[in-house]
């Protein structure tokens, strides 16, 4: 029997467009901030979510395990957990395994088992597969997410973590006790999906290795992007825009070695007419990138914040069909769907600015400060 006949369709079995709220903060000096600020940012944007998904990503939160990949996994049952852990042990050395601490809240229910593992690939396995540790861990994540029904890896980077759930983001933040973590950058997401899968894995941020994406929008290029990226070993199991954007970022940055600016000019490529007005060398590069990666151009409305070790990149679609503003105060840079969210984090934020369509805002922590 088709599984969708027994229960409501789960994320990945139907395509779910959604509207959203996003926010982020980063300290350029690498100062660690508790999760309270970013939770506050989401409160004034409650109208942009509908309680069907919220989440956060924090960078620099596991300094004591900075050399280990932190896997955050949802399990539907103890049985699948046992099965999955057997597999994990066969591929990785697990140096710590624990339940992620949460706090009971009436607003957050039906939680799965939420486990956290600090792991490192076995050298012998790496050598025999002739891949580096990032590629190996990415493959482990793909494998669990496609082969183990009821297990889902939702965070897999070093010294960073994703925390997400079905609920309003401010409740999700409290649920995960984010005030107890210190991060040099935070991103956050509140989701407004157009139907109700009610599955925790479907909430955002979406992550692969240390790259996370929070995204507001519905991309019209989805299937063109998906069918292209799946040629390179990625499996889009969730049918969500954010998932495919995360894989695109991973492919362009990690596998193709593009810079962030170059990545931005692939996924939000300038119009040909704009390219024609650029100086010769820049024009050649932009034409080249559009010619080489035409299937990774993302169209339709989006505002995204890409988080990575040591920085953030904010980007709008090339027509700017979704709101997004940035602000500054001291060494902090704030990004959000609405200025109100920035003001909630920092009432005296300065230089409020709305980046134009396709204009990448890249903020990095000072070298060596994280």
């Amino acid at each position: 029997m088709n599984p969708s006949e027994q229960r409501a369709p789960r994320e990945g079995e139907v395509r779910i467009p959604s509207g959203c709220a996003i926010a982020a903060v980063i300290s350029k000096s690498g100062e660690r901030m508790s999760g309270e600020g970013i939770i506050k940012a989401m409160r004034p944007m409650r109208e942009r979510s509908n309680g069907l998904g919220g989440g956060f990503a924090g960078y620099g939160i596991y300094p004591e395990y900075r050399d280990f990949f932190a896997l955050h996994i949802f399990y539907d049952s103890d049985a699948v957990r046992t099965e999955c852990e057997t597999y994990l042990r066969s591929a990785l050395e697990i140096v710590r395994s624990e339940t992620i601490p949460t706090r009971k809240l009436p607003a957050i229910t039906d939680e799965p088992l939420i486990r956290r593992y600090f792991v490192t690939p076995l050298r012998s396995v790496l050598a025999s597969m002739q891949v580096d540790e990032n590629e190996f861990v990415a493959r482990v994540v793909m494998r669990i997410n496609t082969r183990f029904d009821g297990a889902y890896v939702f965070s897999s980077g070093k010294n960073m973590g994703v925390f997400k759930a079905v609920g309003y983001p401010e409740d999700v933040g409290e649920f995960y006790r984010l005030e107890e973590y210190g991060a040099y950058s935070w991103t956050a997401h509140g989701r407004y999906p157009t139907n109700t899968p009610g599955w925790w894995g479907g909430a955002h941020p979406f992550a692969l290795l240390d790259r996370t994406v929070v995204h507001n929008g519905e991309i019209s290029s989805y299937d063109a992007n998906r069918r292209f990226i799946e040629m390179f070993g990625y499996r889009c199991t969730l049918q969500t825009d954010t998932e495919v954007i995360t894989y695109i970022a991973d492919y362009l940055i990690r596998k193709q070695g593009l810079t962030l600016t170059e990545t931005a000019s692939v996924i939000a490529a300038p119009f040909w007419s704009t390219i024609a007005r650029k100086p010769e060398s820049e024009r050649r590069e932009l034409e080249y990138l559009r010619a080489v990666f035409p299937s990774l151009l993302i169209t339709g409305p989006f505002s995204i914040i890409l988080g990575f070790t040591g920085g953030l990149m904010a980007l709008n679609d090339r027509l700017k069909l979704r709101s997004m503003v940035t602000g500054e105060k001291g060494d902090r840079v704030y990004i959000a769907s609405e200025e109100a969210a920035i003001r909630a984090m920092e009432p005296d934020a300065e230089n409020i600015y709305a980046p134009t369509g396709g204009e990448a805002v890249i903020v990095k922590v000072r070298e060596g400060a994280f």
Binding site: E218, S220, D223, W272, R290, L297, P301
Partner: protein, 501 residues
Amino acid sequence: MGIQWNYPEFEVVRNDSRCIRCQVCARQCANEVHRYEAEIDAMISDESRCVNCQRCVSLCPTRALKIVKSDCRLRENANWNQDAIREIYKQAESGGVLLSSMGNPKPYPVYWDKILMNASQVTNPSIDPLREPMETRVSLGKKPSKVERDENGRLKCELSPQIQLSMPVMFSAMSYGSISYNAHLSLARAASELGVCWNTGEGGLHQDFYQYGAHTIVQVASGRFGVHKQYLEAGAAVEIKMGQGAKPGIGGHLPGAKVGPDVSRTRMIPEGSDAISPAPHHDIYSIEDLRQLVYSLKEATAYQKPVIVKVAAVHNIAAIASGIARSGADIIAIDGFRGGTGAAPTRIRDSVGIPIELALAAVDRRLRDEGIRNNVSLVVGGSVRSSADVVKAIALGADACYIATAAVLALGCHLCRTCQSGKCNWGIATQRPDLVKRLNPDIGSQRLINLMTAWNHEIKELMGGMGINSIEALRGNRLMLRGIGLNEKELQILGISHAGE
């Protein structure tokens, strides 16, 4: 007069009260249907010669004429239909292979008509192409699998040779010989002005048209007619024609009657001699031989021109395309079984090959499954009838479309399907100077430009409705398509969901 086995297919209906005896019909009809009898001051018709090309109808100043299907019928029989019986009579008389022209007219499924497109509602905005930029520019050719940088870390921006198109439509191959000088000139001029490409077909490139080289695809077919160094160098790309949708598995035959001085010079064959293209290329009996020809042509053109390999859509097309994608070809052109032709054996045209929609879907999927979709661009034709077909083709996975029947229709063709007679009253599929001059290349090229411009507007409207503002984001975007009235297997092959899913 002996037995007339086949009663004429059409009737010429003349409204005598409107006819002014101007005799334009008689002068215009190369088939000599109409004649004026001075003694009785009347126009007489011999409908047995009529092919229903509508030339007389279109030129009659008083609309006194119409051509209708004859209602003289054989006894109805669902198995032995009229055509089946008529063809038996013809062959019993001639002992010959039946010949036909233009695309397969049989009522096979047209999948384009069973596919519906999407539009944005609420969750994302549609885009108005009159107010926002909407990009239809396409670049065809191999794309690198890995970007490279120089010693300073800057991107190395060299790409293998590409064809740039202002919109994802090109004019497909029709040889000089099968169509007229003025038809070629109209296509060449229109393609140049539009920023797309036209295609010489296998008959070489007339010396007058080398000036349009930057927008010309020069074809190399099994007869190698008109192929020489300057010819290869003249084009924007070189196309190896392995097959044609209308007649997969067989070659071509241009009768000597059509090989006048100009065609003779262009094809590099003696005047009046039949130009026979063999069924296979006799230097290509396998995929590795194709690779050699691809690289021979690249050597001959100093690796400056992309090489297209054109094949007919046949049963095993996905595997064939995969082989071609690994053969060094830059572009694969696939021609569906409804594609047109200047002449083909009827049995082959009507019953060999598969629909382009299914072939395209299968090839695009196979190339992606094998991770080599970037090695080649995909161009599809046979038959693409409208901008909606183009958009559906792109969403199924094509980079661009080839059109030929639509282009000759714009030039005046009325699809009478008798190109093989060489008496085209519209000046297209003929070499008779008196007929050729009826096609004015100024008007012809303008009509082609109008058609393409109209299609491009429509493509932009359809894209905008889907919230897509660049053709790249449409390519292979099958989520934008839904099937209507298709069974599970068809949906699976097309890789689309059913409407309502």
